[in-house]
Symmetry: C2
Subunit: 188 residues, 2 copies
């Protein structure tokens, strides 16, 4: 919980009252490795803040899992599309390691928005962070070759490969496991 509080404070002003109002929307939860935060087909009613651990979001394409993102400590994850329109989620969010997360309840949060301008600002900020992350990843597909994409990932996230297997990383980068293996071999 304190993790989240500190994190918010580093980004935007939040008074004690603001925090108190926000607190009503929050629950802390522990997820075991491979436990599911959001099922496929489920309506997403929460935003998750990863306090510790890693989560993974992925599509299930007839048995094949295609990773769309990894969320490490101090990152927010949710399915915006499902969250805002109350539609069924097309993808899954799962704990990739044992994960501690703060669950932000959507309905309580919408109420809190009405009570506090600061919280509404916080809500916008979370969205902005999600957009920025996505924009970056999305851009990398057009601007960079697969190999450059891989290099960019390791230079920005040196611990990524320590925590995420080659196979999973390949799926995230949109290339085959073998191709990634070759890049890494060549690199040295």
């Amino acid at each position: 919980m304190n993790n989240l509080k500190r994190y918010i404070e580093s980004l935007t002003d939040l008074s004690e009252q603001g925090w108190e109002v926000l607190s009503y929307c929050l629950t802390e939860r522990l997820f075991k490795k491979n436990e599911i935060l959001l099922k496929e087909g489920e309506i997403c009613n929460s935003i998750y803040f990863v306090s510790s651990g890693v989560c993974r979001s992925f599509y299930n394409q007839d048995g094949k899992e295609i990773n769309t993102a990894f969320y490490f400590e101090n990152e927010f994850t949710t399915n915006i599309k499902s969250l805002r329109a109350s539609t069924r989620s097309e993808y899954i969010i799962k704990a990739h390691e044992k994960t501690r997360a703060v669950v932000i309840d959507k309905f309580k949060l919408l109420d809190a928005y009405k009570q506090s301008h600061q919280i509404e600002t916080f809500g916008r900020m979370v969205l902005e962070l999600i957009v920025a992350k996505q924009e970056e990843h999305s851009g990398s597909f057009k601007l960079l070759t697969p190999m450059e994409r891989f290099n960019a990932l390791v230079s920005q996230h040196p611990d990524f490969l320590q925590r995420v297997s080659l196979t999973q990383t390949a799926s995230y980068l949109g290339i085959s496991r073998e191709t990634l293996s070759r890049f890494r071999a060549k690199k040295k």
Copy 2:
């Protein structure tokens, strides 16, 4: 202007007062074909609502233009990263046809947020629309083959190819001009 008002009303509640407050943030502008909305290196201080026409956003990679998105009627465009952090924009937004746009001033909007909860909700909504659009395009790179990507585009946006040249479309889809030309030939 009325275009925007109707569009907002179709998505969220907006009282007459709310609209009045929002109006102070708005300016209508006409852009000639190829006129620039946001320069590279410039700090983005506006959100644009395209009333008519099309805009294109792209990176300039040593002379080569790489398209990241096209914005048609009733779509919002901006550079979120630059907008929120006041950093220099890494990409360019340009009118791809003669375009009529409503310019939403960032600073006035931030003020308006404080005055009206409805406007803050509107701000969140704009962000959500931008995320959803990006998420979709981004996902298409991992989930679909280039050819499927092309087919998805024409089925979702039948008029895309009428308004955007093959070369520009290819850059948007992240494939070479020649490959796209072949896909199209094969298709029908």
